[in-house]
């Protein structure tokens, strides 16, 4: 408690942070190249950039996780050295990660108290409670203190993460994509409160994000990184979204989103009827899920992460057994086994392909042959495998889908994320596709890959495939889907054609207001 008590009430003051010529090289790879940014005290500063632009490297240098190859950091205009995260905390710099770091079985109060470095061996809870309540009075965030964290909503957890940093007396917060697990309403609430604290001069915020909406609505200033370099910065009020996205992407040609071909009266293709499934803890994860997808339709399933979407995808792709319910394609019962996948032409891909769809140590060519290895020409006669048609097919796909790989023999784990996904995409959609099951296909990819992959999905739709798209990125659903369904606590709670709904309505449904 020493830290908290030594600070006079209301004297918490925002600090400013500056980096000068920050450079970080990993061997020959320069992840961060001469980056100088200036975050004024009490400002809400956004750090924009694609994946791999160097945002995390920069904040890890500031947090003391990495030592910069050259360059220095200034706090309140004084040069400081940050050899480790502890030093960063001592300077008042704290970080909130994309994923929660709370102990789920402990209450909010317990989580806060144990996070302190000086927690005594025997905790006087009555005293701690009083101190905690006094502390909560000084912040705008309200979180139930006595409920186990596992029972809190994502928004409350994120608030608690922020509270934890404030409780530890950090006055400069680095937020790493803090809203990725929140509903739009929750995101607005959390960012709004933080904005209020910066305006009051109590806090300085550096937020990593790629959502322009959050930058324009909440940030004062923005710095844009691209390929490890700072490519622009300024007041948000002086910049348009166009300016910022041009800075982020540079001259990279982005594939235009494919036009949506109008369909009408297409037949029903995929039907999911009364699907139930349990999660890994054997708790119900899917409850009576009913969905219908027509030919030439993209059904987008929106929802906050962890509401049963991953279990749904697992059931549809054969990674989890349903406890009840049926799947039909063309009115015939379907189960995700190889023969039926082939005869109904069901394909799919999802986020983190190295985890879900590829064998990291097998070569690019082998990974591209997963769908075709047991068919002519790779298997010319029953059971036998012939390597040369496999290599030829891989070379064709690598060329057609512009997969960057040193050779067909490279283990696929050595490719960049975008290229792994492109290789898997090539495998899954290069044939004739009638049903496509896709989950967060663009998670963690750069702009060019994202545009490419979304365009490919739209192409498949236009060709008449029934597409089931599960995505935690609402913008992706708004861009691609013909029909939107919202999943909340394992149920489909809202369904609407895309042209009869909007972001706010979907956002409310995601939050469980239906």
């Amino acid at each position: 408690m020493a830290v908290l008590q030594s600070r006079p009430e209301g004297a918490r003051r925002a600090i400013g942070l500056e980096t000068i010529g920050m450079t970080k090289a990993f061997g020959p790879l320069v992840a961060l190249d001469d980056v100088s940014i200036r975050v004024r005290p009490g400002s809400f500063h956004a750090l924009l950039g694609e994946n791999g632009a160097g945002k995390s490297t920069l904040v890890k240098c500031v947090m003391g996780f990495y030592q910069p190859t050259s360059g220095s950091a200034l706090v309140n205009d004084r040069e400081v050295s940050i050899p480790n995260p502890k030093a960063a905390h001592a300077l008042g710099i704290g970080m909130v990660y994309q994923h929660f770091t709370l102990v789920p079985s402990l209450t909010a109060a317990e989580n806060l108290v144990i996070s302190r470095a000086d927690t005594p061996a025997v905790i006087d809870w009555a005293k701690e409670r009083k101190a905690l309540e006094a502390f909560l009075e000084t912040t705008p965030f309200k979180v139930p203190l006595d409920m186990p964290v596992s029972g809190l909503s994502a928004g409350e957890k994120q608030k608690l993460e922020i509270l934890k940093q404030l409780y530890l007396d950090q006055s400069f917060l680095i937020l790493d994509e803090p809203t990725s697990v929140l509903t739009p309403d929750e995101a607005d609430e959390v960012l709004g409160l933080l904005r209020g604290m910066t305006e009051a001069g109590e806090l300085t915020i550096l937020m990593i994000t790629h959502k322009f909406r959050e930058v324009t609505a909440y940030a004062d200033e923005v710095t844009v990184l691209r390929r490890g370099r700072m490519v622009g910065s300024g007041k948000v009020s002086d910049l348009s979204i166009d300016d910022m996205s041009r800075m982020m992407i540079g001259d990279t040609a982005i594939r235009e989103s494919a036009a949506r071909k109008a369909h009408s009266g297409e037949p029903l293709k995929l039907e999911i009827a009364g699907l139930f499934a349990d999660d890994d803890e054997e708790l119900p994860a899917l409850e009576a899920v009913n969905l219908k997808v027509r030919c030439g339709e993209i059904l987008g399933i929106a929802g906050v992460s962890g509401n049963g979407q991953s279990e749904l995808i697992q059931v549809l792709s054969g990674q989890r057994l349903p406890s009840d319910g049926r799947i039909f394609i063309d009115g015939k019962p379907y189960e995700p086994e190889r023969k039926l996948m082939d005869s109904f032409k069901v394909f799919g891909f999802s986020e983190e392909p190295l985890r879900n769809a590829a064998v990291p140590r097998m070569s690019v060519a082998e990974n591209m042959a997963f769908r075709t290895f047991d068919k002519v020409p790779i298997s010319p006669f029953r059971g036998w495998l012939s390597p040369s048609p496999m290599l030829k097919k891989a070379r064709d796909l690598i060329a057609a889908y512009r997969v960057k790989t040193p050779s067909t023999e490279e283990p696929i784990e050595n490719l960049s994320g975008g290229n792994v996904q492109r290789a898997i995409l090539a495998r899954e959609i290069s044939g004739e596709v009638e049903v496509l099951i896709v989950a967060n296909p663009c998670f963690g990819l750069d702009f060019a890959s994202v545009a490419e992959i979304r365009a490919q999905i739209m192409d498949q739709r236009n060709r008449g495939a029934a597409v089931l798209l599960v995505s935690e990125d609402l913008d992706e659903i708004l861009e691609l889907a013909d029909t939107v369904a919202v999943m909340s606590e394992g149920r489909i709670t809202y369904t609407s054609p895309m042209d009869r709904t909007d972001r706010a309505t979907i956002g409310h449904a995601m939050a469980g207001h239906h």
């Binding site: 997963f370 047991d374 960057k404």
Partner: protein
């Protein structure tokens, strides 16, 4: 590693040549790391010997002489390699599916017992080829069911295959003891409880001009066949997908459970066959001599060979040679017989640690993408 640093393909712009060079660079990793590991275990073992006041130089030269120095020691080595090849296959095939089976010894014991037991009523009338054929079949069935059971437990009930295969080894030993000390005991042999002998005339002969029985040839042929199965068939490809990433295999609709079961059964059949060879070529009957540790040394062989059936043959010969030299070391250096087991254990430990170095040595780090 200087000798590996100048592959021609690396700087070449011809893509075929570069692919070839790249493959060579990558595969050399699978030789360099185990060889380094052997070297390190040799050093550690030398420290052990020095602590006992013995000369490491004497030891290694005796191992050389006892295992590979003379034609007699070579034959001794090869006789010991034959069962090692087969028990190593019992580890290598499931390992491709990500299963760690360490109970090959149990399949060997049961396979040997099954072969000896089925021979008892047949010996009086059956011609030798028929007798040996039926015995081999019995051993394959016993071993296959035994390890197949491990695969089934894993697939249907989620039982850890490493633990269950180890525990099943103890059960296999109990089954053997139960019968050779009871119903099937040969009353004419008062010393060691054994089954009835199959008779000298019925036993598997030697490769002409040697004292090495045909089991070695069986092992080598099986290695080639199983190499082809794992690398040149759709079954092997599906097995490798399953072993590399279970979720990916499921998402491809592959029959994961059936693949596991079949692979385990094949593995058990190999170890069972080793038991048959021990009975039909060495002991002539089933008794506790079957429990000689071949199944456990086979684990080491397979790991050292990185579960590659073709590499298993030379590695089995290498470790067979170390085992064969045990007697000579014991006599000349006044060291206990178990000394070579210490060496084996050290090698295994270092090999397991060396597994973590794949892809981490600077030379083998990926060169990244071409832009």
């Amino acid at each position: 590693m200087a000798e590996t640093a100048d592959f021609p393909g690396l700087s070449s712009s011809v893509s075929g040549l570069r692919e070839w060079g790249d493959r060579l660079r990558r595969s050399s990793e699978f030789i360099v790391i185990p060889v380094l590991a052997l070297f390190v275990s040799g050093i550690l073992f030398s420290v052990f010997l020095l602590a006992l006041g013995k000369s490491p130089a004497d030891f290694f030269s005796l191992v050389w002489r006892g295992g590979f120095g003379t034609s007699f020691s070579w034959q001794n080595t090869l006789v010991r390699s034959a069962p090692l090849i087969l028990t190593a296959l019992c580890v290598a095939i499931p390992a491709r599916l990500g299963l760690v089976i360490i109970g090959g010894e149990g399949a060997l014991v049961l396979g040997g017992f099954g072969a000896a037991a089925i021979a008892i009523p047949m010996v009086p009338w059956a011609p030798t080829p028929v007798l040996l054929g039926v015995m081999a079949l019995a051993s394959i069935v016993c071993g296959g069911i035994w390890i197949g059971l491990v695969g089934a437990l894993r697939h249907y009930r989620g039982v850890n295959e490493t633990i269950s295969s180890l525990l099943l080894f103890y059960i296999a030993v109990s089954i053997l003891n139960f019968f050779v000390e009871g119903a099937l005991r040969d009353p004419s042999d008062p010393n060691k409880p054994s089954t009835m002998p199959i008779g000298r005339d019925n036993m598997i002969g030697m490769i002409p001009g040697t004292d090495v029985h045909w089991g070695l040839v069986v092992g080598i042929v099986l290695c080639v066949l199983l190499y082809l199965l794992m690398n040149r068939t759709t079954f092997g490809f599906a097995a490798r997908i399953t072993g590399g990433n279970l979720r990916a295999a499921q998402a491809q609709g592959l029959p994961v459970g059936r693949l596991m079961l079949v692979s385990c059964a094949i593995a058990g059949a190999c170890a069972g066959l080793a038991g048959f060879l021990e009975v039909a070529a060495i002991h002539g009957k089933a008794n506790a001599s079957l429990i000689a540790g071949y199944g456990f040394t086979g684990i080491l062989v397979s790991f050292l060979a990185r579960h590659n059936p073709l590499v298993i043959v030379p590695v089995a010969v290498f470790l067979g040679g170390i085992a064969a030299s045990g007697g000579l070391v014991q006599r000349r250096m006044d060291l206990p017989d178990a000394t070579v087991l210490v060496l084996q254990g050290l090698i295994f430990l270092v090999i397991l640690v060396s597994e973590t170095f794949y892809g981490r040595l600077p030379f083998y780090r990926s060169k990244g993408e071409i832009s």
